[in-house]
Symmetry: C2
Subunit: 220 residues, 2 copies
């Protein structure tokens, strides 16, 4: 089994959501895992001097049309949230809090990882990530408020909401999100989705067919 695909995204990015669905299908076809890495694109935009697409004249209008058209073509359920772009801070922190717990569970089981703790698809962190995307981009809910993230985690993982809120507030969780965002920038990530396939960078939901080709042939 080859190395997992590394999937950088912002929870507020519709193309990140759209790519997540196709990427899991694609990885599965190639017998690969997916390492989920939520980041805050706002930090990236500060460096690149870019604004979110939705805030651009012309580009924002196109995005609203294109995301719906893109989803329809691929058969992916999608609703344009009225809260777009939402704040991804609480959801991203909750993800890394759970990712750390997944890693502890995996270590406790002596498995040395492979599932929980590497964002690799089978842990609670990834379950939450899928739920955040679904709740926001299919049901149209605003997952910006930390209480909304805690309620979602309670529903889909059976967690105590107060524990989630406390987890979101842990200094080491905040540090982890900053570190993952910094690391992404160091690796050249400037948008969402951004996928590394065997180290090769691909930007954009419309480049997954190239990721597919890359994995088929080991490059071209």
């Amino acid at each position: 089994m080859g190395a997992p695909l590394e999937f950088y995204f912002d929870f507020a990015s519709p193309y990140g959501y759209l790519a997540s669905v196709d990427l899991e299908r694609l990885a599965s076809r190639h017998g690969r895992g997916v390492i989920w890495r939520p980041i805050l694109l706002g930090a990236v935009f500060k460096i690149t001097g870019v604004k979110p697409n939705l805030h651009h004249p012309l580009r924002g209008e196109y995005l609203l049309r294109d995301t719906v058209r893109f989803a329809r073509l691929r058969g992916i359920p999608f609703t344009t949230p009225s809260s777009m772009p939402m704040s991804a801070l609480a959801a991203s922190r909750a993800f890394y809090w759970l990712d750390t717990l997944d890693a502890l569970d995996a270590a406790g089981e002596g498995s040395g990882g492979g599932g929980g703790g590497d964002g690799g698809g089978s842990g609670r962190a990834v379950t939450l990530a899928r739920a955040v995307f679904h709740s926001h981009f299919v049901e149209g809910r605003d997952l910006g408020p930390r209480e909304a993230v805690a309620a979602l985690a309670a529903t889909c993982l059976g967690l105590d909401q107060r524990a989630v809120l406390a987890g979101i507030d842990q200094p080491e969780v905040k540090d982890r999100l900053r570190q993952e965002t910094d690391r992404a920038i160091e690796r050249g990530v400037f948008g969402s989705p951004f996928v590394f396939a065997d180290g090769e960078p691909f930007w954009g939901a419309d480049r997954l067919d190239q990721v597919d080709r890359w994995l088929d042939s080991g490059g071209w």
Copy 2:
């Protein structure tokens, strides 16, 4: 035969060049013409507050890698020009000067258009456009200087260089380029390439497969 595809691009845009090759193949498969419409993205960037991708940290580095990789995948000859991004002003004006001459020729022949004058693929304007892209993105030449454009027009169309330079300087040619750029912005164009297929907007060289699908099925 359906309506021609409308192809907006900036001569300085590597993705504009890459799309031009695939778009002509694609249009031909669907029995469609292509209306070439060079514009100056600088005017668009003033409105959208965007910089050329090449000038972005991270994004610029990705562009340099991605264009080469993209061209290799599609089998399109490509060299990264050392003069990138070049000024597209002279080449764009020369295009519209020739487009006007093509239209006069077509009117004189009583054909009422259909070839020359509509940027529709068979006129001297489009011959020059293909040559500009080839000279810049395959041979790596800088077509920014008006003298370079005039020399290229002499080589590929047998025109007198002084006539080309005079054409580039005509006030009505300068107006035409401004009008075409303004019209593009009115229609929502904010990047290169930007294609309208039966009125539907598609942005990006990596969306031509969607244009293909759209023409196959009349939408989805």
